[in-house]
């Protein structure tokens, strides 16, 4: 059996497959590249968003081991919008199990102390309530393995968490938020949660370029952005201005998904992906499309 693992080192965009039925409702026909779903019910948003880009079955096959990378950097409350919404995580885990995943591993290398996150984070607490689902917050160096970045410009190699080597599918699940250094912290910035030494990135000759470099070796199969609440100012830790957008964005193109999230969250300031340096640099390396309007977008209000 050919390894399904495409999210690390090699990578190709998964083309959308035909739409699926969920709970008897037909959502957008699943040929969209990108979906933006808004509505009052979080799980319905997630289902529709994933359904519109092919349904979870397009990404998770029976028996697959799935890794989900949410933002678990802080043990902050949900209202602060600095970490992935627990209900969004719950819905994504559910979808993975429904698609036949053998196991789901939630993984992040948090900024705050891992013991505190494991104990206090409402998002982390969701995992305890789900079967065949585990959480890993690796905070010692021996759990990471040195990996080359052959096309890297500012970053040539980095230590990536060993767990990924055992996974078949990677789903990136960031929250939409502002970041004082990189403008936003979305999927591409979120990849830093899978490496050991994030300081090396800040310290490199070009921080934004180094993020693009990392994105050349870590390519999630699916990126889902939690924009239920978005942090518009004073990120990444806040407290800052929280916008209640009640939206979920999903797609396979990591640059386009991030750019779409920027446009959605920072609309009142007319900002777009082209205003975010690590996104323009990622696009320049051929990692995705910076102008989402060029893609087939499914937008829906539930």
């Amino acid at each position: 059996m050919i390894s399904r693992r495409r999210f690390i080192q090699t990578g190709a965009a998964i083309t959308a497959v035909s739409g699926r039925y969920f709970n008897g409702k037909v959502y957008a026909q699943g040929k969209a590249d990108l979906s933006v779903i808004t509505g009052p019910d979080i799980e319905a948003n997630v289902r529709a968003a994933v359904g519109a880009v092919g349904g979870m079955e397009a990404f998770v096959k029976n028996g697959d081991r799935v890794a989900i990378k949410p933002n678990l950097s802080f043990a902050s409350p949900v209202s602060r919008a600095t970490t992935t919404n627990p209900e969004v995580l719950r819905a994504v885990i559910k979808l993975c199990h429904e698609a036949g995943a053998k196991s789901v591993s939630v993984v992040d290398h948090p900024l705050q102390d891992a013991a505190i996150i494991g104990e206090k984070s409402e998002t982390a607490a969701v995992v305890k309530e789900m079967k065949n689902t585990s959480i890993f917050l690796p905070d010692t160096e021996n759990l990471y393995v040195e990996t080359a970045i052959p096309n890297g410009i500012a970053m040539k190699s980095t230590k990536v968490v060993k767990l990924l080597g055992e996974m078949d599918v990677l789903i990136n699940l960031p929250i939409s938020k502002n970041h004082s250094a990189t403008a936003v912290s979305l999927g591409i910035k979120g990849n830093l949660g899978l490496v050991w030494d994030r300081i090396a990135y800040h310290n490199s000759s070009d921080f934004n370029q180094s993020l693009a470099d990392l994105a050349t070796i870590i390519k999630a199969d699916l990126t889902i952005v939690d924009a239920i609440r978005a942090l518009a100012t004073r990120g990444p830790q806040g407290p800052g201005k929280v916008l209640k957008l009640n939206s979920v964005i999903a797609g396979t193109d990591p640059v386009a998904v991030d750019a779409q999230a920027v446009a959605l969250t920072f609309a009142q300031w007319n900002l777009a992906g082209s205003n975010v340096e690590h996104l323009t640099k990622s696009a320049a390396m051929g990692l995705g499309e910076i102008d989402p309007s060029k893609l087939n977008i499914a937008k829906q209000s539930l």
Binding site: V36, T38, A75, S103, Q112, D113, A114, A115, I116, E119, K120, F136, P138, D139, T140, N142, L143, K162, L163, G165, E166, H179, S180, A181, T182, A183, V184, I199, A200, H202, N203, D206, F207, N208, A232, T233, R234, G235, P236, Q237, G238, P239, G240, K241, L243, K244, L245, N246, A263, L264, A267, Q268, W269, N270, L271, S274, N275, V276, E277, K299
Partner: protein, 562 residues
């Protein structure tokens, strides 16, 4: 006759090691429980609460008195009635000596033959001098020697030495089996790894411990006989104990009892016992071939004189006073005060030095291992007191363990909210070390990791260009040290915490209206060109002069969506 009357193993023979084992295991259990998340309960500081030496020192030094210390009255009563039973049955340090002796000495070195005269060890009075030194020192404000209370000493050994060794061993083992675990799909096992605690003064502390253990090859239970200040206190209280060793006329003077006594408490004629040294272990009763020994109620006539030299007592007491006075003038709290970062909620430094047991509980509990033992940086009297060392570990916003565990209140037990307002110090940026200031790099880690939003970035134009540079908002900063910990500069951090603006209070709230107001978020007029990280002005197509009309996005979708 002698053959037929082989003594039966007494009940204590089996019971005592059991009690010792249970107590030691309980000690280790309480030790391991001091970790995040921490739940304080009655038993947390049980060993210290029952320690009358600690209580006495707290009373003499006139500082905080935690009512829990009154439990030590039980130990006093126990000793008044049953002598140094604490030493023989309960003290975990004593258990370790017995265990070491059993494991190390019994099979390797022959037990030193005790020479006559029995019962009069040459060093046994030293513990009384140490006790005097400690008590008089405390009276005059020098409590540093508290670090040699056996329970305090042992806890510190666990924190600074034994536990880190155990973690090291566990990690080595896990690393060995990790490839196998990955292969067999045992994910949780393959990703299991413990954060390695590391403490300064580890070698120094370990040397002291090994020296104390090593002394059992000179005399059995050397520490208990000759050095232990708690043992000395209990010895004084044992004078009138009502349970003790009695010898009947069956005694054949074979000397087996005197040779078996770990405390050398039996006199030359084998009939007498020193109640001050006897730890009620009943080994003598077990070895007596004619069953002449029993442990019964009724006052024991003291056969050995209590004979610490008067001069020795006076000298040691005076020594304590001199040390106390000297510590305050020669060794420096004057020169070091205000240069160290103390845990949040630490009381005023003078009182802190009087009250801190140097036990290491706060250091064990600190999840980042940021609390480290001081060597001489707090003066001689500050040795082993906790100092926040951000480069080793910062103070976590969501944690308040140190105050919760402190047995004496040297670190106040603050609620989580109070602790988030208890200022440890303030961050200072060394601009010529900072890579944003000096090299124009996009670093900004200090802002990223600051939980209090106390670092802001402003565009500053200089020869490198118009670049975002960090500034510390002093009123918001509590000195937690996350910035210093995260700063990527090699060597001393470009942003570091100094004790300036620290707030030390023995009572009362730390929350001020000013800071509470500052922490409220009011971002309706944020200027995106100068903050928040978006690309430089020339590529920005937006207008920022007008204020956004509404921030109610619940019903209004952003433009473009339907």
């Amino acid at each position: 006759m002698a053959g037929n009357l082989k003594s039966k193993r007494s009940f204590s023979f089996k019971l005592r090691p059991l009690i010792q084992g249970i107590t030691l295991i309980f000690f280790v259990y309480l030790f391991l429980k001091i970790a995040y998340p921490f739940q304080k309960n009655l038993a947390t500081n049980a060993f210290y609460n029952f320690d009358p030496l600690i209580t006495l020192i707290m009373v003499l030094s006139g500082t905080f008195f935690i009512s829990a210390l009154l439990y030590s009255v039980f130990t006093v009563i126990l000793t008044l009635l049953f002598g140094r039973m604490f030493c023989g049955w309960i003290c975990p340090m004593g258990t370790i000596f017995d265990l070491s002796e059993y494991l190390l000495l019994k099979k390797r070195l022959p037990l030193k033959r005790v020479k006559k005269p029995y019962g009069n060890g040459p060093y046994k009075n030293i513990k009384y001098y140490i006790l005097m030194f400690l008590l008089f020192g405390s009276l005059f404000g020098f409590t540093a020697v508290m670090m040699f209370d056996p329970l305090v000493f042992l806890f510190r050994v666990f924190t600074v030495n034994l536990h880190p060794f155990a973690i090291l061993g566990a990690n080595e083992f896990l690393d060995l089996i990790r490839p196998l675990a990955f292969k067999t799909g045992a994910l949780k096992l393959s990703m299991l790894s413990f954060e390695q605690p590391a403490f300064s003064l580890g070698l120094f502390n370990l040397s002291l411990f090994l020296a104390v253990i090593g002394l059992i090859s000179v005399e059995r239970r050397f520490w208990c006989r000759n050095l232990c200040p708690l043992g000395a206190l209990l010895a004084v209280l044992s004078r009138f104990s009502i349970r003790g060793r009695r010898v009947s006329i069956e005694c054949i003077s074979c000397a087996k009892c005197a040779k078996s006594c770990p405390m050398n408490a039996i006199t030359d004629n084998y009939m007498g016992t020193s109640p001050r040294e006897c730890i009620q272990c009943e080994r003598c009763k077990d070895v007596c071939p004619v069953n002449a020994i029993s442990f019964d109620m009724g006052r024991v006539v003291e056969e050995q004189s209590f004979n610490p030299s008067r001069r020795g007592i006076m000298l040691s007491g005076t020594g304590g006073i001199i040390a106390a006075l000297g510590a305050g003038t020669l060794l420096s709290t004057k020169t070091t005060a205000g240069t160290l970062l103390r845990p949040p909620g630490a009381i005023v430094e003078r009182d802190f030095l009087d009250t801190c047991l140097r036990c290491g509980e706060c250091m064990k509990g600190c999840p980042t291992h940021g609390l480290q033992p001081a060597f001489l940086s707090a003066g001689l009297e500050g040795m082993f007191t906790p100092v926040l060392t951000p480069r080793a570990g910062a103070c976590e916003e969501q944690c308040n363990i140190c105050g919760q565990v402190c047995p004496t209140g040297a670190i106040r037990a603050l609620s989580l909210e109070e602790k988030q307002y208890a200022v440890i110090g303030n961050a200072t940026i060394e601009r010529n070390l900072c890579i944003a200031w000096e090299q124009g790099k996009v670093c900004l880690i200090c802002d990223e990791v600051c939980p209090y939003d106390a670092v802001e970035f402003k565009l500053v134009k200089d020869e490198l260009g118009s670049i975002k540079r960090p500034f510390v908002i002093e009123d918001k900063c509590v000195g937690c040290g996350q910035c210093e910990k995260g700063c990527p500069v090699n060597g001393p951090a470009a942003i570091h915490i100094t004790p300036i603006n620290e707030v030390r209070k023995n009572s009362g709230s730390y929350i001020t209206e000013n800071v509470r107001r500052l922490r409220e978020v009011n971002d309706d007029n944020v200027d995106f060109s100068k903050e928040t990280g978006f690309s430089d002005e020339k590529t920005m197509p937006y207008q920022i002069e007008t204020e956004p009309e509404t921030d109610d996005f619940e019903s209004d979708l952003p433009a473009g969506f339907n």
